[in-house]
């Protein structure tokens, strides 16, 4: 069962605060780029190369801002990358402790089944396409729901409000169109 919104909101707010108190605001989507960089460099070792100042890449995006992303991909044992791996561990343990998710729900969520029946392949295709658009958009925007919307608005960053306005302007009509029931 899901936590009461007052308890859940307070806990989530405390996590945001702990992050900015101890290290920096939370962000996630950059790590998809870092993992892509790690994979690309494993396939083609020339993708990321060492320079006098650090690292750079043949890819302009990886090489931007003084090779910031190239540097992280060359050394994945950094705060932000480990943070995302730890998120997965935390969610795994939390889900286990509340009894896990049943087999039907694991394939496609109830709201999907209520609208489209038992169509796992279509669900997987939509999840895949959704993931593509989400991460393409997040990188274009320079952050996602975590970095822009939550951390950004928490810091009163102008970019956070612009992002949230765009995200909800598209998300609400899209959800209403696709999920008429459930």
């Amino acid at each position: 069962m899901v936590l009461n919104w007052k308890t859940g909101g307070l806990l989530l707010g405390l996590v945001f605060f702990a992050a900015v108190l101890l290290v920096k605001p939370i962000g996630v989507s950059t790590q998809f780029v870092i993992l892509d960089g790690i994979v690309a460099d494993a396939v083609n070792p020339d993708f990321i190369t060492q320079t006098d100042e650090g690292y750079t890449s043949t890819n302009a995006y990886m090489a931007k801002s003084g090779g910031k992303y190239a540097n992280s991909a060359a050394d994945p044992l950094n705060y932000s990358f480990i943070f995302v791996l730890a998120m997965a561990v935390g969610a795994f343990l939390s889900a286990r402790l509340r009894g896990g998710i049943d087999a039907v729900e694991r394939v496609a969520p109830a709201i999907w089944r209520e609208n489209f029946g038992d169509t796992p392949m279509m669900r997987y295709a939509v999840a895949f396409l959704g993931g593509f658009i989400v991460l393409y958009g997040a990188r274009l925007a320079g952050g996602c729901t975590s970095g822009h919307m939550m951390s950004g608005m928490m810091q009163t960053a102008l970019s956070g409000y612009i992002f949230a306005a765009g995200a909800f302007a598209a998300a609400i009509p899209t959800a209403m169109l696709i999920y008429k029931r459930g």
Binding site: G9, F16, A91, G100, A127, Y136, G137, G142
Partner: protein
Amino acid sequence: MTSILLAIVIGAAFGAVLDRIGATNPNWIGGMLTLRRLHLMKTILLAIGVGSILMFGGQMIGLVDVGHMSVKAAYVGVFIGGLMLGAGWAASGYCPGTGVCAAASGRKDALFFIAGGLLGAAAYMATYPAWKATGLLDDLAGGKVTLGSIPGSSYDGLMSVSGDLLGIAIGAVFVLVAFVLPDSLVGGGETAEMPAE
């Protein structure tokens, strides 16, 4: 090494809380984005408000290092990217962080979301120079700016008012909205008790 330890502790806490508030569950995301069940919206608004009040309060009393702030640049692409993310978020029920957490909690469709995400991020890496050339990534209104001017911050403020006090005030508004927002804005929410979990 301390930073790795902190990454593990804070990351795990974040993942666990996302799981417990329903953010990793597409049924709850769908309920929120169709405006039929706003429980998760209330949770998130409260969290942003609490985070904001504690952070700016902490900065005012010197507990929180202002240098820890990390403000992202504003540009037209932020809005376009937001639109794209919103559409994909609504369709799939996942965003980058919650997709990773959902996959870890056993959801198979979330694995497809992550695979699509890795490809989408790679596609952006490949097309970045084209976006850059359009000027849509150029700073808007000063780029990395906050609404108020925060003492000791390296980011400029859009307004000369105290960024700390404004941050606390906006945080309080988020908390207030969380409280006054109804459980549902569109009919049908009450019939859908979350099944199958």
